[in-house]
């Protein structure tokens, strides 16, 4: 029915910047009618940004977007819906205070007037029955009462409901992330039926098997660019992994493998959801990497270790003072009303005290020492912390941790949005501090950073799935274990 028009949507040279970060760097992308396009890539490769653009929720900084051959000058959500393009976003977007039927109404402006409640309920119930035959969801259920899996079912079904607006393309961003294998299978077979009937679909998934089996064409993104795009049967698992990770070898930042086997035990921790005997062990002088996809339990374990230092917890053993370098520095790291010096001194108040009061002199000494040591670029450490650039703010947070008495430093992806120059300076400092006997636990989403680590634990679904030594560490191995499909 749509075969006459080849493209549903086409982007040419799409660009998007968030501050200094280039999320999309000139991407060409298109979806044809009756086609399921698989989109894969590591965290931060730009998949979600690209999809927000197709759905109209983000405006490109450069490039063009054309829908069914017509260039759209002022593209928006409303325009996308009008053209039959819908998106199921990765983060759930139901209103938790509304019922399932009421949530359906939100996506359909035409569901008004007398009897709209019954029509909305019939609509979503019929679609749920069609996609997930044994769903067990009532249209009167309040969304907030449903389990996360059922919420995802409602959200997916809602995107496929039809009223007055057309439906040509549905973007599914990790649609199976909260579904069990049974429901995921139901959804994917529905997607195949939808595509066979002439609809189009973009399928984003970290489960490579799903993409390989269900997509007609696969587009691989990396660092804000499309690095590979071809028919699905050209790819296999290994080829996809290689394309995502970049097959070219990269030189190791440090080649000398230090022997730290004999160090004092600093941390022994087992993630709460770990079922086998694997556990994280960190000794004095070690830099330990925590890898895997974002949100698979690395931060949870760091926070658990942090709280275990103050109060004993089952399964976690911590033998020295701990400091945490937060990744989300705006919300978790910085005291925005304070000066740089105060921000650095807060972790060391006990040492800065003079009687009952904080000694301004000692605080200034500490700040000045770290200003020189870590190279914070500011004329005056008494300036507000926001007078610093993002990278220098992060340096101040490192100074807070390193200037304290903590022998264990936990780092929660601290290099987000930090420029490469700052990164290299901090890496050197970390190695220097490690050589003096400090222990670092470093969660990072950037694979290159793991080259600085002595040991890397790979996480998946809140569990440690692999423990790689420095000499066995390759990007392929990390991706392989973090994408390990439950076979």
């Amino acid at each position: 029915m749509l075969q006459a028009i080849a493209d549903i949507v086409r982007l040419n040279g799409a660009e998007k910047h968030f501050g200094a970060v280039r999320a999309l760097n000139g991407v060409d992308f298109h979806v044809g009618a009756g086609e399921c396009v698989g989109l894969v890539g590591h965290n931060g490769a730009g998949k979600s940004t690209l999809m927000h653009m197709v759905a109209g929720t983000l405006r490109p900084d450069g490039g063009q977007i054309a829908v069914r051959g017509n260039t759209e000058a002022s593209y928006s959500v409303a325009r996308a819906l009008e053209l039959g393009i819908r998106c199921v976003f990765q983060e759930l977007s139901l209103c938790p205070n509304l019922s399932v039927a009421e949530n359906t109404r939100i996506n359909h402006p035409s569901l008004t007037g007398f009897g709209w409640r019954r029509r909305a309920a019939d609509l979503i119930r019929a679609k749920l029955d069609e996609i997930f035959p044994d769903h067990g969801i009532s249209a009167d259920d309040i969304a907030g009462d449903l389990s996360i899996g059922r919420r995802q079912m409602v959200e997916v079904a809602r995107a496929f409901t039809l009223t007055s607006q057309p439906l040509h393309l549905v973007i599914l961003d990790e649609p199976t992330s909260s579904l069990d294998a049974h429901a995921a299978g139901q959804l994917l077979s529905f997607v195949r039926r939808f595509v066979a009937a002439g609809g189009s679909c973009i399928l984003i998934s970290h489960v490579l098997g799903e993409v390989l089996q269900n997509a007609d064409r696969i587009v691989v993104m990396r660092d804000g660019k499309v690095v590979a795009a071809d028919a699905a049967d050209v790819f296999d698992r290994d080829k996809l992994v290689a394309a995502m990770g970049g097959a070219e070898g990269h030189q190791k930042a440090v080649t000398k493998a230090r022997t730290t086997e004999g160090g004092v035990l600093r941390v022994r921790a087992r993630p709460a959801r770990q079922q086998d005997g694997k556990e994280l062990v960190a000794r004095a002088g070690e830099i330990i990497g925590l890898a895997g996809l974002a949100g698979h339990g690395q931060t949870d374990l760091l926070l658990a270790i942090f709280s275990a230092a103050a109060r004993a917890r089952a399964g976690i053993e911590v033998t020295a003072p701990v400091a945490l370098v937060a990744g989300d520095r705006q919300s978790d790291g910085i005291f925005s009303q304070w000066s740089i010096a105060q921000n650095i001194g807060i972790r060391s108040l006990a040492r800065l005290r003079n009687g009952l009061l904080i000694s301004p002199q000692r605080e200034a000494e500490l700040a000045e020492f770290w200003k020189n040591k870590i190279g914070i670029r500011t004329p005056d450490m008494n300036n507000n912390i926001f007078s610093l650039s993002g990278g220098n703010q992060q340096k101040a947070l490192f100074a807070r941790a390193l200037g304290s008495d903590a022998q264990i430093v936990l780092m929660d992806d601290p290099m987000r949005g930090v420029d490469i120059g700052t990164k290299l300076e901090v890496y050197d400092l970390l190695r220097e501090e490690a050589a003096k006997g400090r222990t670092f636990l470093w969660y990072t989403t950037e694979t290159e950073e793991l080259d600085n680590c002595d040991h890397v634990y790979v996480f998946k679904n809140g569990r440690i799935v692999a423990n790689l030594r420095r000499d066995e560490l390759t990007e392929e191995k990390i991706i392989q274990s973090s994408f390990g499909d439950a076979a």
Partner: protein
């Protein structure tokens, strides 16, 4: 569309715990009202009569209207700290201009609803905290009220007096009015298709924006509704007291917030209940004076008793939620 006969609605799926807790929480406002009524009946059985209710619920209608007004802003995750002085301002306009120069009075009252709508737009567009904006506005309304009516006095329009002294057979007027207010607002906010959008804006604003709805419009509508019910509250109040005073509504700000929360509403998340809010307002109105006067509790302590009721009910709500989890 596949036609499903209305009778084939499948039975509510077993979402047992959460649904039961929700129902219990929904019943809590009615339970607390019943408890207060039982207390009054026990202390003075003669109070439970047509005449007694008329007397005890004397001020319930304006309190219920002010509570509904507050409920609309709370539905959009905001708070209105100016509703009390606004009710006072409306009262002063009602007791002067609305009687002496009806046209001017009507224009001023409609204009004040427009000001509320503009406040909603301002809060949305400039991303301001509503607490700060409405706290500032509370002084503006208070000042305007004093300008309109420097000394206590004025007189309510006769038509308003006759409405408020209406004596229907069998059912006391305040109860009838409360039923009407609850039914109208429940239908408007909980049953209409745009009411869903208004509540959704408090539940998940980002989702609404992604579905193509204007959040500016929802905020403006919610604030305008607050203004409308604030006006109704002020007029009802003057219809009962017959004359006005610039400070007449000052207690209504906290009373209205307490009524919404007592009625099962929550400060964030778009979870509000018009029926609950009216029940909450009735509970507070009942508990405010008669119950405690019967118990020979001096007026100074009555405010504290109101607070105690609030704390007890909220504690019960938390207990219910925790038990079901």
């Amino acid at each position: 569309m596949t036609a499903i006969a209305p009778g084939t609605v499948p039975k509510a799926s077993p979402r047992g715990g959460a649904a039961r807790a929700r129902m219990l929480r929904g019943l809590l406002p009615a339970l607390s009202l019943a408890l207060v009524l039982m207390g009054i009946a026990w202390l003075n059985p003669r109070a439970i009569s047509y005449f007694g209710f008329n007397l005890m619920l004397n001020l319930a209608i304006p309190i219920a209207l002010a509570t509904i007004a507050q409920m609309f802003v709370i539905a959009g995750n905001e708070l209105d700290l100016s509703i009390g002085t606004f009710v006072g301002f409306v009262g002063c306009v009602t007791a002067t201009w609305l009687r002496d120069a009806p046209l001017l009075g009507i224009v001023v009252l409609l204009g004040s609803i427009g000001v509320y709508a503009l406040l909603g737009a301002l809060i949305h567009l400039r991303n301001l905290p509503s607490i700060v904006v409405t706290l500032g506005m509370s002084f503006v309304w208070q000042g305007l009220a004093i300008l309109v009516l420097p000394k206590p006095g004025g007189k309510a329009p006769d038509w308003l007096l006759s409405i408020m002294s209406f004596k229907p057979p069998y059912i006391p007027f305040p109860i009838l009015a409360a039923l009407l207010i609850a039914a109208v607002v429940h239908f408007g906010l909980m049953r209409t298709s745009y009411g869903v959008i208004l509540r959704g804006s408090g539940g998940n604003a980002a989702a609404l924006r992604r579905a193509g709805w204007s959040l500016l419009r929802t905020k403006v509508v919610l604030f305008a509704l607050t203004g409308l019910f604030g006006v109704l509250s002020g007029m009802a109040l003057i219809g009962i007291t017959t004359s006005a005073d610039a400070n007449i509504g000052n207690g209504y700000t906290l009373l209205s917030i307490a009524g919404v929360i007592l009625g099962g509403g929550e400060f964030v998340g778009g979870r509000v209940s018009p029926i609950g809010a009216v029940l909450g307002a009735l509970t507070l109105a009942l508990a405010a004076s008669p119950l405690l006067t019967f118990m020979h509790i001096p007026p100074d302590w009555q405010v504290a008793a109101n607070g105690a009721i609030l704390i007890i009910v909220l504690a019960a709500r938390v207990l219910i939620s925790r038990k079901e989890r």
